[in-house]
């Protein structure tokens, strides 16, 4: 045993915090995609699901605060990791090695994600779910209407897709990395882990983006 503080201050301990928190966030993102697919069932089904969630208050708040806590922990830990990594080589090489680009840009894709998520929360979590922004053809369609109207603007659709590209880049490396961090390595299954990681990341990226694009193209029902 090591004192818990010392364990999680160690390089491997920090990595494990980044991995566990990252994995929890990934699980949330998967659930979130499934929720978004409900958009194509129309406003009634989607809003009914939203109401079901709202009805669990204050339990919902506990989940939200927990998620925020996990997110902040991920951010602090990865920030510390990156600062230490920079410090470990102050002067770089003239001729750079060929580090895989997705690994190299983890801090950049992460920061892009952070900015995207802040904008995303302002747009959907902290905008009133009823009112002028929710009105579609004269009807107040609640959160469904808010989402529907939001994606009628091509610039927002493009911005959203960029955010998801950041997610795709981040998770392509991140998910396979979690396995290594927890000591799961096998010559036999590594290619499966790698493909799952890239596949899941690409799937999430394409899934979310496609929903936004389909709404823009008018494939989401308005009643």
């Amino acid at each position: 045993m090591l004192p818990i503080k010392q364990y999680f201050a160690s390089s491997i301990g920090k990595k494990q915090i980044a991995a566990v928190t990252g994995l929890m966030l990934s699980a949330f993102v998967v659930i979130h995609l499934l929720e978004n697919i409900l958009l194509f069932k129309g406003p009634e089904v989607f809003n009914a699901w939203v109401d079901t969630l709202q009805s669990t208050k204050p339990f919902l708040y506990i989940i939200e605060i927990g998620l925020l806590g996990v997110f902040v922990l991920h951010l602090f830990t990865t920030f510390k990791i990156v600062v230490e990594n920079k410090r470990a080589r102050k002067k770089g090489y003239k001729e750079e090695g060929a580090t895989k680009i997705l690994v190299k840009i983890m801090p950049i894709s992460g920061t892009a994600l952070l900015l995207f998520l802040i904008a995303h929360l302002i747009d959907f979590r902290f905008t009133n779910h009823h009112g002028p922004a929710s009105i579609v053809m004269g009807n107040d369609l609640g959160l469904y209407g808010l989402v529907y109207n939001y994606f009628q603007n091509i610039f927002r659709v493009v911005g959203y897709c960029f955010g998801l590209a950041a997610l795709g880049c981040h998770l392509s490396h991140a998910i396979q990395s979690v396995f290594q961090t927890f000591g799961i390595y096998s010559e036999k299954y590594n290619h499966v882990i790698k493909k799952t990681s890239v596949g899941l990341a690409t799937g999430l990226m394409i899934g979310f983006s496609t929903i936004a694009i389909l709404i823009y193209l008018g494939y989401a029902p308005t009643a």
């Binding site: 090591l2 770089g92 003239k94 001729e95 090695g97 490396h173 000591g183």
Partner: protein
């Protein structure tokens, strides 16, 4: 039939640990393609000495790829372009006529530059001192079969034991992490019955010593594995991660 090539060397020259250092260009003529990389520098150094200039300082000892003393970045790759090959075992036939070769020291805060291409690897020694050994009184050699070791374990231990401590893994890592080196040392003993008594304290102490030296964290980029002249696998890192968790949390 010894072919000759001409090269331009772009070499990092740094007088002392504290001085700034800069690249200097050298034209090297009529390099025998069958000479080793270090022999090529030897010839250049003799020239420089005759001209009254400071020769290029570089580390070396065995010159047969087994001691881990040599090493430099050759065109951005530790030990040069050839896989599973130390710098001393690299030969000039790997290079083209009129090629420009950039030579830099391994760079990391924890292994500071002493002079030119020479780095101070004391941080590695400190990690070994923290636990990379077995502190049993072994007496005289036992009968070979008195401790049975399954062949796969013996092979694994041997593969890890091949690490020569050259620090190319640190040099190649975008984070200057020493995980591959430490993992090789931890695993070498963790795989053998003789290493079990101190297995837990060893992994804890060596990881903490590594952190204390200021090496970066592992981002699982696997550049270390690609650069290692002994083909040490990142499977060692996974195994050490697991061992550290077991020793740090579950015991």
């Amino acid at each position: 039939m010894s072919d000759k090539i001409n090269l331009t060397l772009n070499v990092w020259r740094q007088k002392s640990p504290k001085s700034a250092g800069k690249f200097e260009e050298y034209e090297v003529k009529d390099v025998d393609v069958n000479s080793s990389f270090l022999e090529m520098i030897d010839v250049l150094n003799e020239d420089l000495t005759k001209k009254g200039q400071d020769p290029i300082e570089f580390d070396h000892d065995c010159r047969e790829g087994i001691c881990g003393t040599c090493g430099a970045m050759v065109n951005g790759r530790p030990h040069g372009p050839l896989k599973n090959t130390t710098l001393c075992q690299l030969h000039m036939r790997e290079f083209k006529n009129n090629e420009t070769i950039t030579l830099e020291p391994f760079r990391s805060t924890s292994l500071p530059i002493v002079k030119d291409l020479v780095v101070d690897r004391s941080a590695f020694d400190n990690i070994i001192k923290s636990g990379g050994f077995i502190s049993a009184k072994t007496g005289s050699g036992q009968d070979a079969n008195s401790i049975l070791i399954p062949k796969p374990d013996a092979d694994d231990a041997f593969n890890s034991a091949q690490c020569i401590g050259c620090s190319a893994c640190v040099a190649a890592c975008p984070n200057a992490s020493a995980m591959l080196f430490v993992a090789a040392k931890v695993n070498h003993l963790a795989k053998l019955p003789q290493g079990q008594a101190e297995r837990k304290s060893r992994v804890k102490n060596m990881v903490l010593a590594m952190d204390k030296s200021g090496f970066g964290n592992c981002s699982n980029a696997y550049e270390c594995e690609a650069a290692c002249p002994k083909g040490i696998s990142v499977a060692n890192i996974a195994a050490m991660n697991k061992d550290f968790m077991k020793a740090g949390i579950f015991s």
